[in-house]
């Protein structure tokens, strides 16, 4: 096949797509494109690009070594480039090595490794490829809102978090949910007994029976142990399914799924809401820069559009309230969101300790981006393993 790397030398920023032909871009998904979670959110962002730019998406889902054993991530990227992709999105934390290799082999093709930190000069592991950028949403806000909704709703004072595998990102998100929940529990409900906040990790982004813990079982276990709100951190919707069943059986329980704005639809009446990624705007901007020939590899960590959390044109992360959230709590939640927006509420200010008692943020200290991104432990008050 024609190999684009032979043209070499020219820096990525000079690649210009002819304006006559529509942009072709590749979208590499780690899970199924219809997972009602992480992968579907990316897939729909791709469709958004097609709509907005008349661009053409080449998509391949289930790109992981178990489900697609005979292609590696970099080979898939190469296939897409060979098919004419001028921009490739590699959309999982798992794709780090493939992304770096693909970027190295195709220095003129712009690529985005989502949720990664390779282009962050101040990050822990910057990589020297100027055609590989990163995009991530500031989901810590989404998780704080989700936590708040949980804290406002819980009757038993016990909230559970269905965690995937353990890394910086997932610790960051658990801590955010915990901070949001505690804030609302204490400040809006005036409770003084500390909130019970438990996390169990299943071991991977989604369930592989026999190897990961079974999220269905874990979610059931949460309910058995007395939790009445489950916050999901995994790619799929088991937490909502299980809570829905319990609710059907007459129990008062709720859940918050994750990643995808349509996730509540499976069981709206007990869904408190869903924090989701809206990759569209950032991806659109990148695609436009490729068309314009102005692409530069940057690390983006985009926050919500506080003026309208659910504006699909502008926000990087959002939160859709669910039918399970009572009207009172919904308005309290809006209050919390407004506080986050104007900065009057910032749960990520010290004093905060890690689980082992060591200091995370000293009294009055506001967390830096590095401190938030590279979260090393769960916080004091969260039950569950940190590593």
């Amino acid at each position: 096949g024609e190999d684009t790397s032979e043209t070499t030398a020219a820096p990525a920023t000079t690649t210009t797509a002819s304006s006559a032909e529509p942009l072709k871009f590749g979208m590499i998904l780690v899970g199924p494109q219809n997972d009602r979670g992480w992968s579907q959110a990316h897939f729909e962002a791709g469709q958004y690009l097609e709509e907005q730019l008349g661009a053409e998406m080449i998509v391949l889902d289930k790109v992981n070594s178990a489900d697609l054993p005979d292609k590696t991530v970099d080979q898939v990227a190469q296939d897409m480039i060979n098919r004419g992709a001028q921009l490739v999105f590699l959309t999982s934390d798992d794709m780090r090595d493939g992304a770096l290799l693909a970027a190295e082999l195709n220095p003129t093709v712009p690529m985005i490794w989502s949720s990664g930190d390779s282009a962050w000069a101040e990050g822990e592991a910057p990589a020297p490829f100027d055609n590989l950028g990163n995009i991530m949403g500031r989901m810590e806000f989404g998780k704080m809102i989700a936590g708040c909704a949980a804290g406002l709703t819980t009757q038993t004072g016990s909230i559970a978090y269905l965690g995937p595998l353990i890394n910086d990102e997932t610790r960051r998100l658990v801590n955010s949910a915990f901070l949001g929940a505690s804030y609302c529990w204490e400040n809006y409900r005036g409770e003084t007994t500390p909130l019970e906040f438990t996390v169990n990790w299943i071991g991977f982004w989604f369930n592989i029976p026999g190897f990961t813990l079974d999220p269905t079982q874990v979610a059931n276990g949460f309910l058995d142990a007395g939790a009445d709100v489950i916050i999901s951190g995994i790619d799929t919707t088991e937490a909502l399914d299980v809570a829905g069943q319990a609710a059907d059986a007459g129990e008062s329980v709720w859940a918050l799924p994750y990643d995808f704005d349509g996730a509540c639809e499976l069981k709206p009446e007990i869904c408190l809401g869903v924090p989701y990624f809206n990759w569209g705007p950032a991806y659109l901007e990148v695609a436009q820069s490729v068309i314009d020939g102005t692409f530069t590899a940057t690390w983006q960590w985009n926050g919500p559009d506080w003026t309208d959390l659910n504006n699909k044109e502008t926000t990087a992360i959002g939160f859709v309230k669910g039918d399970g959230l009572s009207a009172d709590n919904a308005s309290t939640l809006d209050q919390f969101i407004a506080g986050l927006a104007d900065g009057s509420i910032n749960p990520l200010v010290g004093p905060l300790n890690y689980q082992d008692g060591s200091t995370y943020l000293a009294d009055g200290e506001t967390a830096t981006d590095q401190q938030i991104w590279y979260t090393k432990q769960l916080l004091e008050g969260v039950t569950g393993p940190s590593e």
Binding site: V59, S65, D70, R96, W205, F211
Partner: protein
């Protein structure tokens, strides 16, 4: 011509399997000929695709060649999958801990893989020979143990610095990657190793006393003892050889393809090896072409969702239906001919029963 009949036995089921796949595609509302064309183009349509196909071919051939040995010894070595994984783990260990020039690394990682796979085979063999645990169940169990071990290593001792991701370990140092030519991904070394293995197994089974004795052990353990064959030793040896070749496949998966240890390093190539050997009627001479066909489907199928909205599982369906039809058709033919069973070449499935009379 001796090859005409087996060819005919394969051709009719191929047509049947194709018909089935076309039907499915029509049901899914896709153009079947475009899809089948894509399968071909995606697997052999360009040098890059062909090289990807060859990369898959190498490991399938190695696993299948090892299976010929264990099947000959009457063993349903379904644990081959675990042996591939064990080889991957051992090779990864070598690649991560030893430093050296490329040539040295090739030899050491392959040696490690041979040993790792061989030991995993030996484990199933020990359970079979000394614990009377049927190799089907022992092997399946050990496969899951090997997978657990992989996951454990990846999120535990071999995790990436600062990250506990199941995506895989850090890539190995470049010196332990199998060298490739230009931008193609296939390694000539790997292809040569696989070809040598299949030829060696062919001659071992056909022309040597070892092959004959192995067959005697496979057909009737008790008679074999009375022929003075060291029964246990042969059974264990078959497991070791089969496991070692599978382990070599595992090595090439990690040093020539993934370049790191991933949770499922085998990519189910061990399981595919079983299908290949079933299709080949347990004969070494058919392995290489059938494995190529399988590799082409595996690699070509990834183009289906890229180009049209067809799930890549279609490739697996095509493969599965094909093997099923070949088996069924063979059985039907044998029945019609009133001849002895085609599947006779397959070892009888008799789970090890406790000795004694009966």
């Amino acid at each position: 011509m001796s090859w005409m009949r087996p060819l005919g036995r394969v051709l009719i089921p191929i047509v049947g399997a194709m018909a089935f796949a076309i039907l499915l595609l029509l049901l899914a509302g896709a153009n079947p000929f475009e899809a089948l064309g894509l399968l071909v183009e995606g697997s052999v349509g360009s040098a890059a695709n062909l090289s990807d196909t060859l990369t898959a071919w190498v490991t399938m051939v190695l696993a299948a060649a090892g299976l010929v040995v264990t099947f000959r010894a009457g063993l349903w070595n379904i644990g081959v999958e675990g042996q591939v994984i064990a080889g991957s783990i051992a090779a990864a260990f070598a690649a991560r801990t030893i430093e050296g020039p490329v040539a040295v690394m090739i030899i050491l990682t392959m040696l490690a893989g041979l040993i790792g796979g061989g030991l995993w085979g030996l484990l199933a063999g020990t359970l079979r020979v000394y614990g009377k645990v049927n190799e089907i169940f022992g092997g399946l169990g050990l496969t899951f143990v090997a997978t657990s071990l992989t996951t454990y290593l990846i999120i535990g001792p071999w995790k990436k610095a600062g990250v506990a991701s199941t995506g895989g370990t850090d890539p190995f140092p470049r010196d332990s990657w199998l060298p490739t030519i230009g931008t193609l991904r296939v390694s000539i070394v790997a292809v040569i190793v696989a070809a040598l293995a299949v030829v060696a197994v062919y001659f071992m089974m056909r022309g040597t006393r070892f092959g004959l004795r192995l067959k005697a052990v496979g057909q009737n353990l008790r008679s074999a003892v009375l022929f003075g064959i060291p029964n246990k030793r042969y059974l264990l040896l078959a497991f070791i050889i089969g496991g070692a070749l599978a382990g070599l496949a595992g090595t090439i998966r990690v040093t020539g393809f993934h370049h790191k240890l991933v949770p499922t390093p085998s990519g189910a190539h061990g399981y595919l090896g079983i299908l290949i050997v079933l299709l080949a009627g347990f004969q070494a001479k058919w392995i290489a072409p059938i494995a190529f066909f399988f590799a082409a489907i595996a690699v070509g199928a990834s183009q289906l969702p890229l180009q049209m909205e067809v799930d890549s599982s279609l490739g697996g369906i095509l493969r599965g239906v094909l093997v099923l039809f070949v088996l069924l058709f063979g059985g039907w033919q044998a029945r019609r001919a009133g001849a002895r069973l085609v599947a006779d070449a397959a070892p009888p499935v008799v789970p090890a029963t406790p000795g004694g009379e009966g």
